[in-house]
């Protein structure tokens, strides 16, 4: 019952409550009045009967005394006139009935409907008997019953009226709540938080509605904020923060879509991998801020170079990719690629200086054998590497034989970890010749990786991987130790006191005890410090001036000589040349290669020579391949040279023979 009531709608509850309250109050009020009336009437009846009993008793006591029952009966008959008396009886002292009277109207009167009053009859203080008078309470009862009937009609009428009123009045309370409930339900089902409940007054319901609307406001605004945040996150997840270009993830999605749309014509889809040459050098030497600006500018140029329908993405670092849509022939892709290469080769004006980079581009078109995302990306990457190896600033289409290289590069990191233990590394030596005497003044130690499967792998391929993985340190130590032992062996064999030049990685320089470390390796190999030349790159010089200066000074103090490798390719200022205790500058082979015809290269070489002279540094020309080049560099003022003209990098055994053959300075002349 109570549970059923609890589940009733609010308006029904309120109606019931109002009606119950009204009717209960009415019934209670009536009951109180009726009780009061009944008690009063009963009292009146009893009082009347007492009077009747007293009077009749006084009149009949003498007859009782003189044993005149007939007289008593006669007298009692006079009570017939009293409609309230239904019976009367006089009893003697023993309680035996002496005389009695029964009213004619008394039929049907039972004990419940009569009221009895008894009086003792006393004569001269002596009890003679008693008189009992029965009154008729039926009239009283019927009056009460009539009242009750009328009252129930009134209660029913009141109930109806209060129901009619309650059903209307309860709306004042229940309607706003019902409205609130309906709206809440609508909001819950539709999840449309823009809906509001119509306000109603300032009572509790009004406050509730206000709070609810406020809550909806907050939910709505939070919803809006989270949608924006989700969109931002979506954008961040799919775009590169620096260039705002799509990132690798989005690029793959777009590529997948393009392949799906191209359906049976995968050749209409192409992927270009763009790698900025020398970007790392700029980034390292001029700082990240400049690097970032350069990347942004480059991204802009790439976007301008491609068509509207193509998708440009930054895959990371200095790597970009372009998704080519709807290409009809290879020449379409070639045209775009060449425009792109051309655009990136133009100088970048950043921070009030012109920066030069170039791009290596690999292109892969979809085909029956390459129509999925992975293959296309892998092939474009391989083609890009081929372009880089081919001298940069160029583009290459993917051809099937490139895929083997690409696969191999993926396994290089794993291979490096075991190469040292497996003895797959070897040190080759290239002679350095003093031009004036044509004597071998030193050898440059160059590491080679003889991969058991892939054969000889050039340093340009695995050194960056080794640098990245940290393997460069044990490899560098091994190269140093091997080269020093070899130099010592040659000395012991009477092949001369040649200097051995070893390349070091910037990573190795990070350790503060690097000079001591080098010294201990030399001690173990038995080679004096004076016989070691430390070859440095310009990048290394820029890494950490103070620390580098400290390490170099220590090495210098121990007796080692210092050489700057590949001089002229970097962007570092020349100030470090003064600051660091260098002994040699090695002119990059790219300048020597153009000699003597290329005036540009000639001018640069002249400038470098002038610089070295002013700083009192010995000059080594690298990559000397022809006698003409040898003549030019000698005339310009280079003291030493390296190159195929004199000898390519060769194994230690060959080098030993070479040294033995060129012990005599005069014999060294090769061709001239």
């Amino acid at each position: 019952m109570m549970r059923r009531f609890r589940d009733r709608p609010l308006h029904s509850k309120l109606t019931v409550i109002i009606m119950v309250t009204c009717c209960t109050a009415l019934v209670l009020g009536y009951a109180a009045l009726a009780w009061r009336y009944a008690v009063g009437e009963q009292h009146k009846l009893v009082r009347h009967l007492e009077i009747v009993a007293d009077v009749t008793g006084a009149n009949t006591i003498s007859a009782l005394a003189f044993d005149d029952a007939a007289w008593v009966r006669r007298h009692l008959q006079s009570l017939q006139a009293d409609p309230l008396v239904v019976a009367a009886a006089v009893y003697d002292q023993r309680g035996t009935m002496f005389a009695s009277f029964q009213a004619r109207a008394a039929e049907g009167a039972d004990a419940a409907s009569t009221v009895r009053v008894s009086r003792a009859l006393l004569l001269d203080g002596e009890p003679l008997g008693s008189i009992a008078v029965d009154g008729d309470a039926r009239q009283l009862h019927s009056a009460l019953l009539a009242d009750a009937l009328i009252m129930s009609v009134i209660v029913m009428a009141t109930g109806l009226v209060s129901w009619a009123l309650a059903t209307r009045l309860q709306r004042l309370v229940s309607e706003p709540i019902a409205r609130l409930a309906r709206t809440m339900e609508r909001v819950a089902t539709s999840r449309d938080y823009s809906q509001r409940v119509e306000p109603s007054g300032h009572d509790e319901v009004g406050m509730l509605i206000g709070s609810f609307n406020e809550m909806l406001d907050q939910i709505e605004s939070r919803d809006r904020r989270s949608r924006i945040a989700a969109a931002q996150l979506e954008h961040l997840a799919h775009h590169d923060a620096l260039t705002q270009l799509p990132n690798r993830t989005l690029f793959r999605i777009r590529l997948q879509q393009a392949l799906g749309e191209a359906d049976r014509q995968p050749q209409r889809v192409g992927v270009m991998f763009v790698d900025l040459d020398r970007f790392k050098t700029i980034n390292d030497s001029l700082g990240h801020a400049v690097g970032d600006l350069l990347l942004q500018e480059a991204a802009g140029r790439i976007s301008e170079s491609v068509r509207e329908t193509d998708v440009v993405a930054r895959l990371g670092g200095d790597e970009f990719a372009v998704l080519l849509n709807g290409i009809r022939s290879a020449s379409d892709a070639a045209r775009i690629a060449s425009k792109l290469v051309e655009q990136l080769a133009r100088p970048f004006r950043i921070a009030e200086q012109d920066l030069f980079i170039s791009a290596s581009v690999g292109i892969c078109r979809g085909s029956e054998s390459a129509k999925d995302v992975e293959t296309l990306l892998k092939n474009a990457d391989a083609a890009m590497y081929r372009a880089k190896e081919g001298g940069r600033n160029d583009y290459r289409f993917f051809s099937t034989e490139m895929s083997a290289d690409a696969t191999e590069s993926l396994t290089m990191t794993n291979g490096l970890a075991h190469a040292l233990d497996n003895g797959e590394f070897a040190v080759h030596y290239q002679p350095r010749i003093e031009l004036a005497t044509r004597r071998v003044t030193g050898v440059e130690a160059l590491v080679r990786w003889q991969h058991p499967v892939h054969g000889l792998i050039p340093p340009a391929r695995f050194i960056p991987v080794a640098e990245a993985s940290g393997m460069i340190e044990p490899i560098g130590d091994w190269v140093l130790a091997t080269a020093c032992r070899q130099a010592r062996a040659w000395s012991d064999a009477g092949l001369g006191e040649v200097q051995v030049a070893v390349n070091f990685s910037a990573r190795q320089f990070r350790h503060a005890d690097f000079p001591e470390h080098v010294a201990s390796i030399l001690r173990r190999s038995g080679l004096p410090m004076q016989r070691l030349e430390v070859e440095l790159t310009e990048t290394l010089m820029m890494a950490d001036h103070d620390k580098t200066q400290h390490v170099l000074s220590a090495l210098k103090a121990m007796g080692a000589s210092l050489a700057m490798d590949d001089f002229g390719t970097g962007y570092s200022s020349l100030s470090y040349l003064k600051r660091f205790p260098l002994d040699r500058l090695k002119i990059d082979q790219s300048f020597v290669r153009g000699l003597p015809a290329n005036q540009h290269d000639l001018q640069i070489t002249k400038a470098i020579v002038a610089l070295a002279k002013s700083l009192n540094l010995r000059l080594v020309a690298e990559g000397v391949e022809t006698p003409q080049q040898c003549d030019v560099v000698q005339q310009l003022g280079c003291e030493e040279a390296q190159g195929y003209l004199f000898g390519a990098p060769m194994p230690a055994a060959d080098m030993a023979r070479f040294l033995a053959a060129h012990q005599c300075v005069g014999d060294l002349v090769t061709g001239s």
Binding site: N59, I61, S62, A63, A65, F66, D67, D68, A69, W71, D92, Q93, R94, T96, F98, L123, D124, E126, L128
Partner: protein, 209 residues
């Protein structure tokens, strides 16, 4: 039908104190004896029973009658109930001995002379007495204010105040309708008494006297 009941009631009413068992036995015998045609009822016992009833009447009359103050010497003076007749005296004395009326003790006496009779407030003249006295219908020396009760048919004619009669096996009492002439001076009767009395027209008889 009323006879034995009435006797019983009167008996009970007259006894202020619990009735001893032996007396109840007697009463029961009287009751049975009073029934007409009862085998064991003797004339003597019937007469005795009737007097016992009449004793109650005498007692109740005393309660419904007001005597003038001159009738008593003091407020404590007992009320004298004088019985003329041996049988009646014995019965009345048995029934009413020790009772009081309106605060006065009840003296039941059998006056031997006129002087004694003069002091009586209530007088009962039995049929036995009148039968024996012959010459006089009323004992000599009675006070004017005495309530004179008798049981003979001509008692009222002879100056009696109330006459007890048997009617339908019940005892009734007669009084004269025109009471003023015959009523003893200064004696007041309660209306309760008068309404129950069988009133007789005694002018003729009074005129004869």
């Amino acid at each position: 039908m009323h006879g034995p009941h009435a006797m019983n009631r009167l008996r009970r009413r007259l006894c202020c104190k619990p009735v001893p068992a032996i007396e109840w036995t007697i009463a029961a015998a009287l009751l049975l004896g009073s029934a007409p045609g009862h085998a064991e009822e003797t004339p003597h016992e019937a007469i005795r029973a009737e007097y016992r009833l009449k004793a109650g009447f005498l007692y109740n009359f005393a309660k419904y009658v007001e005597w003038p103050a001159s009738a008593f010497h003091s407020a404590q003076e007992p009320l004298r109930l004088c019985i003329f007749g041996n049988e009646a005296y014995t019965a009345v004395r048995d029934v009413l001995a020790g009772k009081t009326v309106k605060g006065r003790a009840l003296d039941i006496v059998q006056p031997g002379n006129a002087a004694e009779a003069a002091r009586c407030q209530v007088v009962f003249v039995s049929a036995e007495y009148r039968a024996g006295a012959q010459a006089q219908s009323m004992p000599p020396g009675l006070a004017a204010s005495a309530l004179k009760v008798g049981e003979t048919p001509d008692f009222l004619h002879n100056g009696g105040t109330i006459n007890l009669v048997r009617s339908d096996n019940r005892i009734r009492f007669e009084m004269r309708r025109n009471s003023t002439a015959a009523t003893p001076p200064d004696l007041q009767f309660s209306s309760q008494l008068l309404k129950l009395a069988v009133l007789t027209d005694d002018t003729r008889q009074g005129g004869e006297r």
